[in-house]
Symmetry: C2
Subunit: 395 residues, 2 copies
């Protein structure tokens, strides 16, 4: 078992109607001017943005707003947000949306609180020394960014998708009303569920002596998301199922499922980041498209872990042959992806990268051959290329 | 499923040798003078206190110390601590010990940051509006006070044991090195494990529609503690078992196991507080002594919950008769208590209260007939008396 740090200072306000509390929550932060940051028109159309504005008005909070965040949020809008915050003396950012909006808010927060180009942090050229305070009204269960330390931004120059993590960016509060996620399209709901599961699975698959308490929590979390993802395919307005998935989303990425581990593998996330940067696919769907290929490529490095996963998570009978059990678990996960209409290969994403493009993805993912990714099995540029290639078509 | 708030701002630094970081952790709090608060001589004898002092010295932190906290920590020492902090301008309290030391530190913190008698808060006469910042070096896995909002103090005048909870008292950081718990006597280790389990069980047994994610986490947490408690009876120096129990202790009482519930029952804790106040028994042992009697008395109010507990936690076969399954679960828990040398009735605690004393306990627990306790079944003074009476001897 490894030493670990666990730090989740975000105050969670969870349940029906909780968005009405946002004004008071912002007020408690003792800030003077708020930037309300959001994405497309959906929060306008649903009336949520108006309810948020009303709550801020009632609490006597001064604010301005900046919309337009897109999935795989763009650096150009981050720059725009930084300028706006600086010129208007904004000292708090309220993200109303999902992971993309929250990540964009975090990037703006870094940009305001630190000199120089904010992209430097995402390029790992230097470390941030602070971040403007962030609050969240969550509308999509997926990224876990409402409680996590991470933020992922896409730079349109070269379509590079890069992440940066620090405790400075942990949200002060997160308002989480599962009702707000009920109108999400099926595809986005399922894609979010895969993202949540993968945040736990990336930590679960590792090469260290694990903590039993963490393992069992992770296994139960993944099972719970799978069960409720299936329910939501039939009953998108099922409150309890939405709530289970929403809370799982936060717990999957706030650090809880990594306690006592070495930090996890994260190769699938790295591989998907390049796909998402180049082809703008939904993050969870991109993860599902490469996971099977990754799992088959690395499972021999720790068959006992994959076998445990098969039995405890996927309900595979505990067979005599570890490798066979492990493989059945991977197949069962792919069957689940299909059941919730998620891809099991890259072509299922509706894209068909050329061999040259796959090579380019691998080169980018290895940061031009400067690094390996993963820990279950360390992957160099050739491994990455092979995993992309195997993921192109199923079987 | 109920709405809930979840707030766990404590920074956890977990693992081998982590007490060496305490100086830097205190320094990051930007305080000018620290009160190091501790209990008996064990932290002196073990050398831990010296290591803590050395770490503070190295970080250039000015401090003074106050020892002498006893189990069921006393109000008189709290008053002494408050005077000391005020006269010496202390602005941070470092608790080096278990739940009693941490609870005493929280009470001192309330007393310094609020005018008037600190006991008022524990008597629920008024609310605190702040608390001095607290840090923890944990030496006993049990109370969960290192991450919880609660504090329990015993007033020698009348031997009243009362609790007070507020987010102000959440520790800024908790240093948790499982090695520090290795020398605990068997009885204290087992008593701590029961306390941890009960913090989860008090939340698990309730009358609301539960959250599946929370239920599964709770069930796994209890199973993990039971498994490792048994290991520790044979191998007190088993690091992994100590670590599993220590982390379970924090998760059991930081709020995680109550998410989506109505807050839980807590009748056993209330009943034990009176026992502990009058007879000064170990808290976990006191809980084990009354739990079986409580469970049998209330199980008919929600047999399906007790049956689920029997199957999912105690490994009882899922039988056709819910009540029978529920009862088997209670018996299995009592068998576990015996296996780790914990009591299953009050006489097992080595005390033999008279009928008059049992009546007095019930009167005190009902705050002189002013309140009921519990939610699985609301208990009035006569119910409490009956539970104490049934708990006197086993069977």
């Amino acid at each position: 078992m490894e030493n670990f740090n666990y730090y989740t200072p975000t105050e969670v306000v969870f349940g029906r109607g909780t968005e009405k509390q946002v004004g008071e929550l912002v007020k408690a932060q003792k800030c003077s001017k708020v930037l309300v940051h959001y994405g497309s028109g959906s929060v306008k159309k649903s009336g949520l943005l108006d309810r948020v504005f009303r709550s801020l008005d009632e609490a006597g909070i001064s604010y301005l707003s900046l919309g337009g965040v897109v999935p795989n949020p763009r650096l150009s809008l981050v720059y725009e947000g930084i300028s706006l915050c600086k010129s208007e003396d904004v000292d708090f950012i309220l993200a109303v949306g999902g992971g993309s909006v929250i990540d964009s808010a975090k990037a703006i927060g870094y940009g305001v609180s630190n000199e120089g180009d904010v992209w430097d942090f995402y390029e790992k050229k230097r470390q941030a020394s602070g971040c403007l305070s962030i609050g969240v009204v969550l509308t999509i269960s997926a990224a876990g960014s409402e409680m996590s330390d991470s933020s992922v931004i896409t730079n349109e120059k070269g379509w590079l998708k890069r992440g940066y993590s620090s405790n400075y960016a942990r949200a002060k509060f997160a308002v989480m009303n599962p009702e707000l996620t009920m109108t999400l399209p099926k595809y986005q709901t399922a894609s979010g569920c895969v993202d949540i599961m993968m945040h736990t699975m990336e930590r679960y698959f590792n090469q260290c002596d694990n903590m039993e308490l963490t393992d069992g929590i992770s296994e139960h979390l993944i099972r719970t998301v799978m069960k409720n993802a299936k329910i939501l395919m039939e009953e998108p307005y099922n409150y309890d199922a939405r709530a289970e998935v929403m809370w799982a989303g936060s717990l999957s990425h706030n650090g809880l499922t990594g306690c006592g581990t070495d930090g996890g593998d994260w190769a699938c996330h790295q591989l998907e980041h390049e796909l998402g940067g180049m082809f703008d696919v939904a993050h969870g769907a991109g993860l599902a498209a490469v996971w099977g290929s990754w799992a088959r490529y690395v499972m021999d490095a720790c068959p006992e872990r994959f076998a445990r996963f098969a039995v405890n998570v996927m309900g595979v009978a505990d067979g005599a042959d570890e490798t066979e059990t492990a493989l059945k678990g991977i197949e069962a996960m792919e069957a689940f992806y299909r059941a919730v209409e998620m891809p099991v290969c890259i072509k299922d994403l509706g894209i068909e990268p050329t061999v040259e493009q796959l090579r380019e993805l691998a080169e980018k993912c290895s940061h031009l051959r400067k690094r390996t990714v993963g820990c279950v099995k360390k992957l160099d540029v050739d491994d990455m290329y092979q995993i992309y290639k195997n993921a192109l078509e199923f079987g």
